[in-house]
Amino acid sequence: MELILNILGAIATVILAFVVGMTYGGIVRKITARVQNRKGPPWYQNFIDAYKLYSKSTAIHHGWMHRMGPAFLMVTSVVTLMFIPVLNDGGWFENLTFKGDLIFLLYLMVLGALGMALGAGQTGNPNSAIGVTRGLSQMVGFEIPWVMALVALMIQYKTTSITGLMEVQQESGTWLMFSSPFAFIAAVLAMLGMFRYSPFDIVGAPSELASGPVSENGGKYLFTMMSSGSIYAFVKLTLYVDLFMGGADNLIILVVKTFTLYMIPVLYGIVSPRYRTEQAVKFFWGWPLFFGLLAILYAVIF
């Protein structure tokens, strides 16, 4: 009986992440359109796109590794979702959060991109190969301040599990945003690169590279990648809210907090042009690295 309830809870979490992620995508398109002085698509546009892509027939034959690429991405997103506490006190959405471990999550988040790279490599399209190399070298850029911020948190509060950090915030009453500010700043600057919005969207830019690793995927593969992209966005936002903003008690507060946090990369990205790969890496090894070092020093001294 417990098993069936747990499985239902897992399915409910995945559906929640899918719906919230897609809605955020639609709302972002609307905001972008309004900033550019035009009316945009309706807020449910991403659902229509997903259904249209699902109903296309697929006639792409490149071998079995190419079909496994999107599957890798989807599996990684869902598994990462299982390890993150969505609400403060569990309930329907407590999946595997008692095993929540920050270091394990760091490894897991990179696995999806690697699977996608393997799948794109088999097509033989040079655009995919170039896009994959650029994406991986950009990842070298933003991973460093992100890991430094997390290490600073782990040193300061002497725990490596996410639930432990959430308990620290509940006991002391203040959010980690205020008690370790440098870690928060470094993590937010790394977040700009994680979401792959402008100015760091050279990996999948349509006019630059014929959309990079996605270029040979159409129809149902593209549906898988879009859905896993939205689920992954929800995962990252919830992780940030849990670590720095005190978690959420119910779904409405969660939606409000994640949306305000999501506006930071989106609003910055609407008005920025695109960086090349070496400019992006140089940016990430400048101020974000400095703030990361400050965060570690702060954690060690205090």
Binding site: R38, G40, Q45, D49, S57, S207, G218
Partner: protein, 181 residues
């Protein structure tokens, strides 16, 4: 219960509604008519409120916009692009050069009637058509999709031999893979 006619009709209605509200156009300008596509997609005559957005590769696109004249050199590449798109796909003929040759009716190098080489769903008249005309053309395509009549791809599959014969007549050096669908 799943295979009876009414359920099939209901599923078709929902599918056609989703397909008509999100059309992805391949960003490929074949001829000089492509200069009217940026005004249609940007702020003044916004095409994104209909769900129309640009797609980067033929694998991801729904609609191939043949904007203007097609020389024999371009026709070979456009046929290859068309055969790489996924079903269901549509072709829109843009400008008067696709209808009867337009301004280049006596040229030795351009094709005059597009319908004999690729199946066309909607023609948009003009030289070049204004963005309002382009949006009206997309509206016509949406009506055809909702009625289930936009079946250019099916026509291509059934009459593949006839299309191939026409194509091979004007392209002497035919090096292309087989069409698999």
């Amino acid at each position: 219960m799943i295979n009876d006619k009414n359920t099939q009709k209901l599923v078709d209605v929902i599918q056609n509604w989703a397909r008509k509200h999100s059309i992805w156009v391949l960003a490929y300008g074949t001829g000089c008519g492509a200069i009217e596509i940026p005004p249609t997609m940007t702020s003044r005559y916004d095409a994104e409120r209909l769900g129309v957005r640009g797609a980067a590769t033929p694998r991801q696109a729904d609609v191939l916009l043949i904007t203007g004249y097609l020389t024999t050199k371009t026709l070979k590449r456009v046929i290859r692009v068309y055969e790489q798109m996924q079903d269901p796909k549509y072709v829109i003929g843009f400008g008067s050069c696709t209808i009867n040759g337009g301004m280049y009716y006596d040229s030795y190098n351009t094709i005059k009637v597009l319908d004999k080489y690729l199946p066309v769903d909607v023609y948009i008249n003009g030289c070049m058509p204004r963005p309002e005309a382009v949006l009206a053309g997309f509206g016509k395509l949406q009506e055809l999709i909702a009625a289930g009549k936009a079946d250019g791809a099916k026509k291509y599959k059934e009459n593949l031999d006839w299309y191939r014969e026409n194509q091979k007549r004007i392209i002497p050096n035919w090096v292309m893979p087989d069409y698999n669908w």
